[in-house]
Point group: C3
């Protein structure tokens, strides 16, 4: 699948389904602690990475104008090292990102102007929100590199999927096999749901569809 | 009162009113840190308890099919020891529980497939939500026993009341006296509200109805 | 500007804009960790301060009837030292405050009867909500004094502004200059937004309006 096909396929899946598929291949990729803070709207995009560091008071850099380079298929993914005392995303960026069709923003840190993002129906996923600017508190260290999103590795161009349950990162090198596996998991979970809602006991339905090992790596089983 | 009458009476009360009545008898029962995470819908039910433990990698148990045994009057109450890194409740369970009229679920831990539970209007109260499965991370240690819900003791069959302000557990042996006392508190608080909205000063209204000691155990007063 | 004019002007501003203006003058005033917990409704008012301390079991005071003295232009601001195990604001107070037109309540601690406040459309900003009363757990130590709101100084009569992104306190002695500066920031940020939505690159629009130093104290720049 090409990148557009991967994104289209991932859009049909939930983060739990993708997480189960990551488990199946014993791969990392789930992001801990990041939740929707503006609108609870799912998105999938390719990671456009930004890394902030504490400001150099002798030579304060800027918070960057990287947004000009971000394309509609992208999701902005910002590593601010989990800082919650100053923001790295605000109202102008939300409005512009929504206007340009950018998929969404994920921050290991906090955003501000939440109400403006909500009005623009633009999804920002973060540790929370606060009102104090990052200007003169942090500065851009690097864009389009490899970042640490609270312990999860994200490379520029990886696939980012986000929904109510949080954020999952698919290493672009594994994305296709993970997505295909998640589609299979999803199909089987729907069969279980159909069976139990039709009156089968959950025990029977789960055994029939091998629920308890759906996410278990068969190679590990063979050990 | 029989169990159906106790539940019907508790449904007319808020968790603050029940908490005040627990205070009145110097009883424990308030649960710290657990909030509505799917829909903000109050419920009352009898505790159907489940306790998870970390998986035994030599002999991985399962996450259980206990839901087949849970009755409509029950609330599922899950002790996962406060773990937030893997889930013990998901979309199939929410849909099935809603379908079968189960009262709600309370987890000292996290759930997933939040959007599905919301669509089914099924209330899950938890420490939060995340997307990673508990399968092969935890396993059922016991069902229908005594559990520790973040420091609060819950026995199978106790009464569970949950609303926007959190979760309260009524030991079934004390439930009737606590509920009767809460009904009296509620009556007096409504009188205070009526008096102040009708123009009485809050000081006067509270003195008239003994607000400041409504939840104080009269035995303690006598000391 | 007199106090009514200051409040009217602050109502046109967001907490991010006020925070940037505080930064500009190197002033404190942002409050960390306090969020809307009943309704997400912005307000501005003058601080009516209350400080609680742990109960003296030999001489338990009361949780106070101070609300009788609070005026419509006021916001109740409560220092409970960040305690989240017992509440200092509940349903009777929310209903009465809404009825009397009080601006809102800010608590470094927790509130209860969230649903009643929501029904009354009354904004309570706090660390969270819980159901257990503060009666016989805390008592009023002082009203109308100086309080510590999680590290932020609040004097009786200071201006409090609250919205989705949190709470900002304006020392009444600085309020006018901060508000005037925030109005200027707001004007410039709107020009940037207009320019970028009209097609200008964000880099160009930000340079044109000096975005990256909008909140920077020009005196510091000159160093």
């Amino acid at each position: 699948m090409n990148i557009d096909e991967l994104i289209a396929a991932a859009k049909t899946l939930s983060t739990p389904e993708l997480s189960d598929a990551l488990d199946y291949f014993s791969l990392p990729g789930v992001v801990y602690g990041i939740k929707p803070v503006t609108v609870d709207r799912a998105f999938v995009g390719t990671a456009w990475t930004v890394r902030y560091i504490p400001v150099d008071s002798h030579n304060p850099g800027s918070v960057g104008d990287f947004i000009d380079q971000v394309m509609p298929r992208d999701a902005v993914v910002i590593d601010n090292a989990g800082r919650t005392d100053c923001t790295v995303w605000g109202g102008i960026l939300s409005q512009l990102a929504a206007h340009r069709g950018i998929a969404g923003t994920v921050i290991h840190g906090v955003c501000r102007d939440t109400a403006e993002a909500r009005d623009a129906n633009y999804p920002v996923y973060a540790l929370g929100n606060f009102m104090r600017t990052g200007k003169d508190r942090v500065q851009v260290a690097e864009t389009a590199g490899v970042i640490n999103l609270g312990g999860t590795r994200v490379c520029h161009g990886d696939i980012i999927a986000a929904d109510s349950d949080g954020v999952v990162v698919l290493d672009i090198r594994n994305a296709e096999k993970v997505i295909l596996r998640a589609m299979e998991t999803s199909r089987l979970e729907n069969l279980i749901t159909d069976d139990v809602l039709a009156g089968m006991s959950i025990k029977e339905a789960r055994q029939k569809h091998h629920y308890h090992t759906l996410q278990r790596n068969p190679l590990i089983e063979e050990k």
